[in-house]
């Protein structure tokens, strides 16, 4: 009896700790729409404070819509006849790949219904687009077969950024209901997502890292589906955004381009949080620094900059929290930042 009471007491105390530590977080006000999404060459500074939504964060979007921050998404179907090898390097021949299912999903994603859903995604919740459709994207009007027992399960390997944006969560159920498939989404960092496909654990991949995609194709792991010209089907894009302290000590908001902004940050040694996990975001980020700094995705390359550059090796949400706590700059995908902001950003 005594022990039970003690446990209950401990739990009550714990709950009190949680309760007391609450910050007076104002519920996020309706985010006012920023400028209409335009594919301009010059970067646009984020709107002035008047239209900035009230939130409890220390950081805000400072720069967006720079061409250098475009993030292209591609679909690649896995080639069932790819040179799969096992852990010892021996060739494996009978790897099960659901090619019919993969094609069905690709055809649908590149069709009209999906295009509409993608274009409208996020508009209601955040008042702005989170994803845009490429004008030169491959389109499909192919007939999509219903799922059968054998082809019913489709394994899609994608990145955490895509998954976290919530796009797939709103898109895939429509596809699944209409055609009877079950799409199993496994999300991981870009490197791991692609590696999973190379190990025969995916039927198709949705990633956003051109060089790694090209490697994948060069290795013979992708196939050209019927009705298309290439293995890489690049169909949509979005932007990374440069997020930083609201008072913007480096003056990034006024920089002409994101590369200029990055130079300002580096010159002034303002705190910067890097994903440091070889993800698509990380790869993009390192490409934006002035060449002279020699920053690459390797931890070694930044060991002399630890006073301002943090190589964190963590996911987007965690890095944003770090940036918020440390009043630092960070390159983020827009969707995750908007979710982060909508949650008040605060832990408590």
């Amino acid at each position: 009896m005594k022990k039970t009471l003690l446990i209950l007491l401990a739990l009550l105390m714990l709950m009190n700790v949680f309760g007391c530590a609450s910050r007076e977080a104002e519920p996020a006000a309706e985010p006012t729409p920023t400028q209409a999404p335009a594919v301009e060459a010059t970067a646009e500074p984020a709107p002035a404070e008047a239209t900035e939504p009230e939130d409890a964060l220390n950081i805000a979007i400072l720069l967006e819509q720079d061409d250098a921050m475009i993030n292209n998404y591609s679909l690649l179907a896995v080639n069932e006849a790819a040179p799969f090898v096992d852990a010892d390097g021996n060739a494996v021949s009978d790897v099960a790949i659901n090619t019919v299912g993969a094609k069905a999903l690709v055809d649908w994603m590149l069709g009209d219904e999906a295009a509409n859903l993608i274009a409208n995604f996020g508009v209601e919740a955040y008042g702005e687009n989170l994803f845009y459709l490429r004008e030169d994207r491959p389109v499909s009007s192919a007939e999509i077969p219903q799922a059968t027992g054998e082809t019913g399960t489709i394994r899609l390997s994608t990145t955490t950024s895509v998954n976290d944006s919530g796009l797939l969560g709103s898109l895939l159920p429509v596809f699944e209901q209409e055609y009877g498939y079950t799409v199993e989404v496994a999300s991981a960092g870009t490197g791991k997502a692609i590696a999973a496909a190379k190990m025969g654990n995916a039927d198709l991949i949705l990633v956003h890292s051109k060089t790694q995609e090209e490697d994948f194709v060069a290795g013979g792991f992708a196939k050209v589906l019927e009705g298309y010209d290439a293995e890489r089907l690049t169909f949509m894009y979005n932007y990374f955004v440069l997020v930083g302290p609201k008072d913007d000590p480096a003056g990034c908001a006024g920089a002409g381009s994101v590369k200029d902004a990055f130079r300002l940050i580096a010159d002034g040694k303002y705190r910067f949080i890097s994903r440091g996990d070889l993800s698509g975001t990380h790869t993009k980020e390192v490409s934006l620094w002035p060449a002279g700094l020699g920053i690459t995705t390797e931890a070694d390359s930044v060991k002399n900059y630890t006073d301002w550059y943090t190589y964190s090796n963590a996911g987007m949400g965690v890095c944003l929290t770090m940036a918020n706590e440390m009043n630092a700059y960070i390159l983020s995908d827009k969707a995750t930042f908007l979710t982060f902001r909508a949650n008040g950003g605060a832990i408590w």
């Binding site: 446990i7 799969f84 852990a87 790897v95 394994r155 654990n201 996911g315 949400g317 965690v318 408590w348």
Partner: protein, 227 residues
């Protein structure tokens, strides 16, 4: 003004389908793997403690080593075995709850065995000596040994249950944390906090603790011998 805790409780009470699914997958995985580990490990532990056979000491050392197997290593090995190019690919265990259960059983069984063996090796000597003194049969002695270890079995099981529910590394790798399929509470917490959605992570954490509490209280009540 709602505190994080209140938001979390709101979420739990809202009965979201996703949350329900996460909890049910978790329970299914935890119960199956802990029971399987118990059924495999307990008799083995009793055997190691009671019988004398060549190689017994070596097996005990191996078991002790396996008890310290890092979960991520187990997850990685299972991932590679069940992978599309792996030798066990035909079992189709990758990204399934069954695969997660296999990984869990590999991790838990040595712990169950070790726990039973350690406890029993302390008492099996006196139990036997007294039984021999009374000229009891082998079978009788064995039943007596089982009876003496019943509380240890319960507490070992609960420990295995707790470990199974708290496991994240191995099950994340083998299961892939696929929504509505292999997402359990721990992997969900990891996923949501990585996204910055701490509220949901917290809600699940509270739920996990609550279930643990209930299980432990139950165990405590069961352990108290009737007067």
């Amino acid at each position: 003004m709602r505190t994080a805790l209140q938001l979390a409780i709101d979420l739990l009470l809202s009965g979201s389908a996703e949350l329900k699914d996460i909890v049910s997958v978790t329970l299914r995985m935890t119960l199956t793997s802990s029971v399987a580990a118990l059924l495999l490990g307990a008799p083995l532990g009793v055997l190691y403690a009671s019988a004398r056979f060549p190689g017994r000491k070596a097996l005990i050392v191996i078991n002790r080593t396996l008890m310290g197997l890092p979960p991520v290593v187990c997850g990685l090995i299972c991932y590679m075995l069940f992978s599309g190019v792996g030798p066990l690919r035909h079992l189709k265990l990758l990204f399934t709850v069954e695969g997660m259960i296999v990984a869990q059983v590999i991790l838990l069984t040595p712990i169950v065995t070790g726990s039973m063996e350690t406890y029993l090796s302390g008492v099996v000597g006196p139990i036997r000596e007294t039984a021999r003194g009374l000229r009891l049969s082998r079978g009788r002695t064995f039943l007596l040994t089982l009876n003496e270890s019943k509380y240890q079995v319960v507490s070992t099981y609960l420990f295995a249950f707790g470990r199974a529910m708290a496991e994240v590394g191995a099950v994340a790798m083998v299961g892939g944390a696929i929504a509505y399929k292999t997402n359990v509470m721990t992997t969900a917490i990891m996923m949501y906090t990585n996204r910055g959605d701490f509220t949901l992570g917290l809600a699940l954490g509270i739920l996990l603790l609550a279930i643990s509490l209930v299980v432990n209280v139950l165990a405590h009540l069961l352990q108290r011998s009737p007067a």
